[in-house]
Symmetry: C2
DNA sequence: TTGAAAGCGCTAACAA
DNA sequence: TTGTTAGCGCTTTCAA
């Protein structure tokens, strides 16, 4: 509180210690031998003056900042519902926690397309849930910034600096479970966001249905809909004569409302209608009945992505292919008959 | 993908456009009149070359980075349990979301004390849940970095750039509720972290008890304990002859285990023992019975803190006193008799 | 309306 | 072992 916050530079320290500024620099970095006496004089001067190095100057000079960026792509990540917030908070929190552990700064990159936004110095950037041919990936690559993605760009699945989710395995397991519980007509309510999550889960549903020689039904529901709007769609579907006896909702935000629609129509869950969702949240856990959901395992995604990024920044070889981890299937009462 | 990531500087753009570098700078910033023709030539050259300004150079020159830092003080925020993670993820996520909305970069500051860590350029810093006389606050202030705190430093409650929680009101309401439900002997299991949360809630408990002429019992449980260790303490307490008939656990991590202990001892919750906690989490919501909890309202804390910070950075006057918001009391079955 | 040039604070190459 | 100095890329003052 006492010190006037006048900015102390390396030159002030050098003057005070009676040495050259390069000596001060080296005394801090240890990048060349300094006599004990000099080093101590320098460090004391720095301490007395309250010196701390200017990170911008250092970055400008060295070309590195020690900061990694994080971009959350899904449009509805920010403006979304509490459920969506939960999902993305988990990812952000986990990435932050991992980076803290590794002593590297993590910066949330606001909007990389908007030039009015303060650009930010970063050595690398983690992009979460990219879109197909995501322009942010293209832009970052153009800028020469090393990128690691959480989930692959669905149009560029070959990019090796990525950690992916094994949707075919887990979504198939979910569908098998529904079948075992007696579902005959499974409908999928998919989203409009063109990312790996929507694409791969849809593909898996179609492939699984083809394998089982089952007819399919895919309804598209924008992630931007209100629950009421989503309910309207679900209601229309459930009122049909040959209505599905199981529905898989992509976002858990719409799964609990779907259960509400079922109740309203007098359809018992799970006996007359099973409901599952492809993300998990408070909403699905506490609905009545609790809703079966696939959890994207953001904690593990984050951990792996950070590892990958730090490896990349320290010059590791490009991996042969993306790292694959598994989502977690949480079976609950909404799909368990009898 | 095609462009070799050679770094384009303002000089390259100036050369290409056939103007001076200062003209390029002004063409971008608009800080002095430029002829239409020149401006367009410059912008085209920049576009063609794929120029983007170096943020470190800009910060070095202007002294501002457009980045705000975030420091989470509680020791157990990072290494903690899933519950703790939930709590802090909510805060981090909310702050990040708010900053995104305001188009300002947010950086997670790793360890401000550790000099080996890359220092980071920030115009201001939000410090969440500071300790009493928190050295991080002191250090940031010494460095001349404007600080806003989420919760006050309990030893320096007079610092006005803060958003605080009205613990006396809500904790008293909780205790009143317990009393109305028939609790005669309420014990508090407080934490060891010396922050406003522990301090103020403890003070409120003691003051409330004094007002009601009730005897008090405060047990101290480190936030670093495992649930098993915490259970041991709770068990010992509940085995006593004159055991409490209501316990308030500071962290929700230990509240659900406490319910486990009650079950083990054959004590019915809430009829023979009421349980409440001073943070909320998945754990408390889904315990059986669900546990009454005070929610710190991290979303609102974050929103207000960000507003305060941006105000401070744009030169707003120092407020007369800290902003006060209310925690939310979630009453659940663990404290509702009959 | 534009250009030239100083200099932000630091690191590293080169000299002594 | 230490000092001198160029220059990282930008903004801004001063001149033209």
């Amino acid at each position: 509180m006492s010190t006037p916050a006048a900015k102390i530079t390396i030159r002030d320290v050098a003057d005070r210690a009676g040495v050259a500024i390069s000596t001060v620099s080296h005394a801090f970095s240890g990048s060349r031998p300094i006599s004990r006496a000099t080093r101590e004089r320098v460090l004391r001067a720095a301490r007395e003056l309250g010196y701390d190095p200017n990170p911008s100057a250092r970055s400008l000079r060295t070309g590195r900042s020690g900061i990694v960026g994080l971009v959350l792509r899904p449009r509805y990540a920010v403006t979304g519902t509490p459920d969506r917030a939960e999902t993305f908070n988990r990812l952000v929190g986990s990435v932050a926690t991992e980076m803290l552990r590794r002593k590297t700064g993590l910066i949330h990159v606001p909007d990389i397309d908007d030039p009015s936004v303060a650009r930010v110095p970063m050595d690398g950037c983690i992009v979460a849930h990219p879109y197909g041919n995501d322009p942010v990936l293209t832009e970052l690559t153009r800028r020469g910034i090393p990128v690691v993605t959480v989930e692959e760009d669905p149009e560029r699945p070959e990019l090796p600096w990525a950690v992916r989710l094994d949707y075919p395995k887990v979504v198939s397991a979910l569908l098998d479970h529904l079948r075992e519980q007696g579902a005959r007509r499974i409908a999928l309510f998919t989203g409009t966001e063109d990312n790996a999550w929507n694409r791969r889960t849809r593909e898996t549903y179609l492939a699984w249905s083809a394998r089982r020689r089952r007819s399919t039904r895919v309804e598209v529901l924008s992630e931007g809909l209100t629950p009421e709007e989503a309910m309207r769609e679900v209601r229309a579907c459930l009122r049909e004569r040959r209505r599905p006896d199981a529905i898989v909702m992509a976002t858990s935000d719409f799964a609990a409302p779907a259960a509400g629609v079922a109740a309203e129509l007098g359809l018992h869950v799970p006996d007359e209608l099973m409901i599952a969702s492809l993300t998990d949240s408070e909403h699905s856990r506490t609905a009545s009945p609790p809703i079966t959901a696939m959890d994207l395992n953001h904690e593990l995604l984050a951990e792996r992505a950070v590892e990958l990024m730090l490896a990349r920044l320290s010059g590791a070889d490009e991996p042969a292919e993306a790292l694959v981890i598994e989502p977690v299937l949480n079976l609950r009462a909404s799909t368990r008959r009898g």
